[in-house]
Symmetry: C2
Subunit: 312 residues, 2 copies
């Protein structure tokens, strides 16, 4: 296996994870979590979204969060923005990375953003314009790239068209999002390879969900075709709005544990990240899906006094 | 990716899954589960263990289980046996596949079987002798092949020695077990490739645990080096005795869902297997780790009435 030796793991828990929480998480709790994440060595943290508070009430405190986080040198702080107004707010608030994108599925766009895909792409072009010359970066995302929960498989042409528009807007990094966990390893490698062939200089990332248990297998498939940028969520914060008991994003500390086990560098202190995952459980007041924080790292040995009934 | 196109998924839930349950599961409940599994198209089901009832009280009804299951033509019924006495009981009870093995770690063997590795290997040789001429098959297993929870990494020489002894006993299929979920994809490919190079004609299987979330990524790594035999547990039945909240074996229906998504054939009716996973939850009286039974298959679309807050 020839894989990139240095992986950029971007944390999205405070935004993509918390956005689905029913009760409002107090701003100071969000800050505790973000500050703990800042201390782990993560290169990028998506901390909030500049969306209308009626659409995502959980993100109503976007400005307050940005104003109060303890910024660490070397960490880029990001936010999701749906339109030019969101971009202006984000830039004014001091966001480093503006995340913007659309789904490759019309049904998904119309239900989630109340915009047609065309309207959405015009909004993204305006975001691109706002970012240009601001010293900030546009981070693109093509959502439902591996399937739409309403429509099923998405046409390759649609993914190529949206991805191409984000390339034209000079987004230095563009994520393919498996929004509801419909991807499989072969689908990952096929799509990434097609985009790499068409845009060999473009940095392509993967935003993966573990809805059906395939998250880390899909990440492995991405690594094997050279993907070095991944988004994940601490503790596995988040969920699937279509299936209340299903899980959401791949779990940051489980993913970093896998990367380190394979000898790949992340610059992240795994123990500190596990600590942040435990804090995330405190913040949302329940057990999260993350597994390494429950089982311990593979390198943690057990005292011989602990006998187990385990035949194989 | 060049992968085997036909995968043999062997179910171990009724044995490796249930053995860890604290309360005794009534025999008739075990039979309901095994009979449901028999109807899914699974080629092999490990239904019990012929061990001393003081060691594993949950398996005290081994003979009663074997006597009452509804055998389906084409399904092989297996049982774990620790010694010659267990093998004789299993053969008398009509078991098709006798599973026997040792751990590659002395500490693990002494704590779990109260035998040294040498004593254990003599016991396995006796099992091999009992199987010979009986019309049954010996299925081998090298436990803790990817790491021991007490000792850490295991020496390659130890794995090779145990594996070689099982080859000499003419076990047609030998599993490498990641007993407590310590493996990673590179470790899987490295060890399997070394064994394939040494014993090119030997059928090598993987018995994987998902303790740290790596189960399906490790399975993918195995598929990529040609492994076509895997053991898994319906619903993700089982657990880790070292970490009460951690999970056990990889989940059968999640694994089959992944295989089918990649276009690999199993001969298994996934819907029937998901039904068996729901039954497994009933049998143990709690929610199990299986994810597809909660989120639905990736191919199951959602009505457009179900709006979701999902930006990516």
């Amino acid at each position: 296996m020839s894989m990139p030796q240095r992986i950029e793991v971007s944390e999205v828990g405070p935004r993509d994870g918390l956005q689905i929480e029913a009760g409002f998480i107090p701003t100071e709790q969000k800050l505790r979590l973000i500050d703990a994440l800042s201390a782990t060595g993560l290169p990028r943290i998506e901390v909030t979204a500049f969306v209308h508070p009626k659409v995502v009430p959980q993100m109503a405190d976007a400005e307050a969060v940005l104003a109060a986080i303890g910024r660490r040198p070397g960490v880029r702080y990001g936010a999701f923005v749906p339109n030019a107004k969101g971009a202006e707010r984000a830039i004014a608030a001091g966001v480093d990375d503006l995340k913007a994108g659309m789904a490759a599925s019309d049904s998904f766009n119309e239900l989630n953003t109340k915009m047609t895909t065309e309207q959405g792409m015009r909004a993204i072009a305006e975001i691109g314009q706002a970012v240009r010359g601001s010293g900030r970066q546009l981070v693109g995302v093509v959502a439902t790239a591996f399937g739409c929960p309403y429509e099923g498989p998405v046409a390759l042409d649609r993914v190529l068209a949206l991805f191409g528009q984000l390339v034209e807007l000079e987004a230095p990094l563009i994520y393919l999002a498996d929004t509801t966990g419909m991807a499989d390893p072969i689908g990952i490698q096929t799509l990434v390879s097609q985009l790499q062939a068409r845009w060999p200089a473009q940095r392509i990332g993967l935003h993966l969900h573990n809805t059906r248990g395939l998250g880390l297998a899909n990440a492995l498939a991405g690594l094997q075709v050279g993907v070095a940028d991944f988004e994940s969520s601490v503790g596995g914060l988040g969920g699937c709005p279509f299936a209340p008991r299903a899980v959401g994003n791949i779990c940051s500390e489980d993913f970093v544990h896998m990367l380190h086990a394979m000898g790949l560098a992340t610059g992240i202190d795994l123990d500190a990240l596990i600590g942040a995952a435990r804090l995330a459980q405190e913040v949302v007041g329940r057990t999260l899906p993350g597994m390494v924080m429950k089982a311990g790292k593979a390198s943690e040995l057990h005292p011989k006094g602990v006998k187990a009934i385990k035949l194989d």
